[in-house]
Structures are given as structure tokens and as C-alpha cells.
Symmetry: C2
Subunit: 340 residues, 2 copies
Amino acid sequence: MSMINVNDQTVILEHGSGGKLYHQLIEQVFMPAFGNRYLDGTQDAAVCEGDGGPLALTTDSFVVQPRFFCGGDIGRLAVCGTVNDIVTSGAEPKYLTLGMILEHGLPLAQLRRICESIATAATEAGVYIVSGDTKVVEAGACDGIFINTAGCGLFGGRRPLAGKVQAGDSIICTGSLGDHGLALLAAREELGFDPPLTSDVAPLNGLIRRLEPLYDAIHALRDPTRGGAAATLNEWAEAAQLAICLDESSIPVRPQTGAAAQLLGMDLLYAANEGKMLIALAPEAAEQALELLHGHPLGRMAALIGTVSEQPRGRVWAENAYGGQRIIDPPAGLQLPRIC
Amino acid sequence: MSMINVNDQTVILEHGSGGKLYHQLIEQVFMPAFGNRYLDGTQDAAVCEGDGGPLALTTDSFVVQPRFFCGGDIGRLAVCGTVNDIVTSGAEPKYLTLGMILEHGLPLAQLRRICESIATAATEAGVYIVSGDTKVVEAGACDGIFINTAGCGLFGGRRPLAGKVQAGDSIICTGSLGDHGLALLAAREELGFDPPLTSDVAPLNGLIRRLEPLYDAIHALRDPTRGGAAATLNEWAEAAQLAICLDESSIPVRPQTGAAAQLLGMDLLYAANEGKMLIALAPEAAEQALELLHGHPLGRMAALIGTVSEQPRGRVWAENAYGGQRIIDPPAGLQLPRIC
């Protein structure tokens, strides 16, 4: 675990990890400077007042390396990541803006391919790219292409989600964990898995829209990206001062991803996802939610993976099939940089 | 003039210039991929349907070099640039998102200073930073700090501006031209002007709000950033297939900036501005508009600088005090990279 903190002199890679140092940066630098009634360092999308009801707004920058990987590329990631962040607020994603920073010398064929990928993902999600901006910097001043997407979602009369788990809640995961993180690692290190590990990057608004009849029972919704499920669940437990207990054997894992994780000594609870949601909801709604999710191609492997209880406050732990327990700490330092 | 075009193999600096190659990239790569009813390659902000009326959305990335300069820094620029883009649609800017890409090794003191600058500019403009994202990349993978701000504006029942000039319109400039471009050049080349050239970077929503009684007379509004006034006026002339004639002697110029431009052989019509608006409006409203603008600290030097006529279609030209004429072509290649 890294002991470097924001009292030191420079920004370091660990500040971008989604872990403890990232939260320190938010709490010690960003919130003191920007704090206002809309900005909530713990949510993926802001709920703001529009002219005729609430709006959801969010932003995400993408610096993924490599920019093309099995199952997607930086363009698909930039659409899906922001669409999914909007979904976590309970809003329907409608509009994306697209800011690109390009390096002098980037092959135009790559730019075209990335733009096609953005367009395809936007069509898949049913969102419009409404505004764009492009900057070009000298060779060496950025790594090929960086993309920012900001998103705007509408609620159409629905109530925004509160985003806080409650004691007794069931925790559902909409599918297998860790696929994006492992696929990126495999692509980056050129580990020749056969068949290759595939990222799960996908827009989840269609899947989550199926849960509309159960919206009142959903207390929190989050896509576990950087820092994986461990980061999201710990943030939930910490914010609500409640405990989350996972049933390790019920966590969905693709066999291929599971085998690779074992080989590489990676814990899939800490690996990034780009096409999964964690859902905390009233236990009486869990069965119907699973049924609805199973009826969608992106929710076939959805499973009940845990429950929320009172004690030990603020902690997450997992029980295996033999009754063994382990604490799932928040991700500390750097898992894998430039995962998204 | 550069003859390189997007049929060549790679992205080049000129693609980010705001000039011809930039427009080629938009027309040949982005519009074919993303084209939809909201995306308009000729406007700075998109007008979209919200739950209870229109919304304005925009995005801008900032890669300015150097990141601190006389009159501002990358943080102030990131707020003002996006606020001003929203203003061009006729909306009131309300919310900004903030995406930062940081280089491992960036001094934390610089990050704090930039965040304070963002906060100050946001307060000045009366907008909220509602959502943020931070990525950190390896040393050498970006140049210190890149910032994206996306903005959301509301119309509060007002009609969005059409954004198209009409024959007979008066052209007003809200103040002196070229100050940002010259200040950046001076800072970058360490030209020791005394007193130093100061950027005009400022949020213009307060100034433009003064024109509210005249909104129906305003046909187009634009902040002439990359490519300067020459770029904006040529886009207007081209889109409306009308002619714009400037009275060169009435164009407001700070004496200091004018002297520097003469010394350096720069044409201020092509230099970037970050705190000025060009306004095309019905001629009978021009006098009252100037009065209203002069009453605001950012509009003291506002002046009527030109008129729109039928011929020659799509062209911009300038007449000097002695009756001499010159064509103001669209900026062709690169004026100065990384100006914002």
C-alpha cells in the first residue's frame, strides 16, 4: 500500500487510481475549491435544476492505453462510460458532448476508426453527440488521443435516485466482474490468451430501463469502473455507515476471465468493469429485478451477490462457500493505470 | 497557406487551428460520423430539448501553453471559454463539468492554484462546477495539465438565438481585439513588454445579459477565439451567403496590444480573444446596444465595427480611413498553436 499522500509535492499516478489517494485529492483539493450544493464527490452524476425538472450532468476523460483492445476501443469506452454514469442517477442519458485532444502525427485512419466506434456506441445507447471540440498538440505533448465526454440525462418526471444503501438491501450485480480490467491488462502486456479476454464495455441504459417498474425499490446504482466492485461497495458502506457482506461463490465470473485472474494473481473484485452495474435495492424487489435483468442480453448473468446489514459499520467483507471470511478493503494505491 | 489536407495520413497541428483544416476535419470526419439534428458544426453550443424547454450544451478542451500567463491561466480560461460558448446560444450558463488530465509529476501547488482560479472564475460567472473527473497519466504522456469543461445553459422561457446574420445587420464588437493572442505570444516567447500584454479572458454572461431587452433584434452572437474575428466573421458570411464590411478605423484596439502587433507583424483580426463578443443585430437596435454595453466594465470599448450587405456573397472585407479596401480571408493554416 502506498503511503504517499497529497501533502507531498507532486501529482502521482496513484492520484488517478480511484482509490484512497484519489479520494484525498477530491476531499483536500477539489471539494474545498469547488464545493456547492450540486457537487457531490461520492456520486457519478450531478442532479441539477433544469427549467422544467431535474437534469443529470456528468463528465469523464478517457486516456486508456492501448487505445484499441479486444471488445472495444477508447471511443466506445468514452460513450459507454458517460452513458453509464448518467444511468446511476436514475436519469435517461440523452446528450453527449465530445472533446478530443489529438497528438500531431496520430494516424487519421485511427481517428476515423475511433469516430466510427463513438458513433456506433452512441446509436446503441440512443444518445446524440451534440457538441464537439478538437485540440491538436505537438508530437510528444499527449499520448495519441485523449477523449472527454460529458453527458446530460433527463428524468422525464421520475425522481432521481438517492444513491445511498439501506440496511437490509440486497446487492445485485448485473453480470460477470473484472472483464474490462483483465482484458486491458492482457492487451497491454500482450498476454496471448486464446480466445482473447474481451472487455465488457457496453451502454447499460437499455438494461437498467427494464427495472423501471422497480425504481422506487432501488436505493443505489453504480457502475464499478476504476477500483472495481471493491471501490463502489466500500464507498456505499462508508457513506451509509452500514456493512456489506458478499457471498463470494455467487459473484458471476466469466470462466476465461476467472482463469486469467487466478494465473495472474489478480482479485476480480478490484478489477475495472465498463459494462456492469451494482444495484442496492429493497430485498422484496430482488427476485423480480433478477428476472427483468435476465431477459436482457447484457443481464443474462445477473446475480444476487450480497446484503447490507448494520454491523460492522462502514466495512465490506466476503464469505466463501466454506464459511471463510475476508475483509474487502477499499483499493489503496494503484491497481492498473490508464484503464479507462 | 498550408496545402496539407485530411486526405493525408496523419493529424497535424493545423487541424487544431480553427482555420480551413479544422473545418475540413469537422466536415470530412466528424459530421459524417456523428451528424444528427442537434449537432451543428457551425455553432459553439448545441440547443437540445430538455424536459421543460430547451437546453444549451457545449464542450471545450484547454491545452494552453504556458499554463500561467498575464491576466489568467488555464483554469480561468477553461471556465470563461465554456461560459462564453453557452452565451452565444442566448442561454444563461448555469452548470459546468470539469475533466482534468494530469501528468505524473505536476506540482500540487500548481494544481491548487489552477483550482482556485477555476473557482474564482466560476463565482464571477455565477456558474456551478457540478461534476468532475480526474485522470493521471505517466510523466511524458501529457503536457502537465489538460482541462475539459462542458457547460449547460438554460433559457428560462427565452427563445434560442438563430445564429445567422441578416442583410443590413450592424456588427458590434464588445471591446478591443487580439489581447489574448498577443498576451499568449508574449508569454510564450518571453517578450518583455512593459507593462506586460494582458489577456482579456473573462466570462461575458453578465455583459450580454444587459442586452436582454434587445434579444429579438440580435441575430448572431459569437466569441471570436481561435482564428480571431476573421474566423467568426467569415463563418457568418459563408453560412448566410452575405457580405460583411468592416470599418477598420472603428475596431477597438488596446494601444499596448496594437503597438505589439505592429512590432511583430501580427494582424489583430486573426488573433484570439477570450473576453469579447461579436454581435450581429438589426441596425435600429445598434445604438441602444452600445449604450447598454458601455455601462458594463467589460463593454466600455464596445463599438460598431461593420455592416452586413448582399454582395460580394460569403466574403469579408475591411475599409481603412483612407478608403483603401482589403479582403479578410478565413484563417488558413496555423496562427499560433495551443492558444487555449
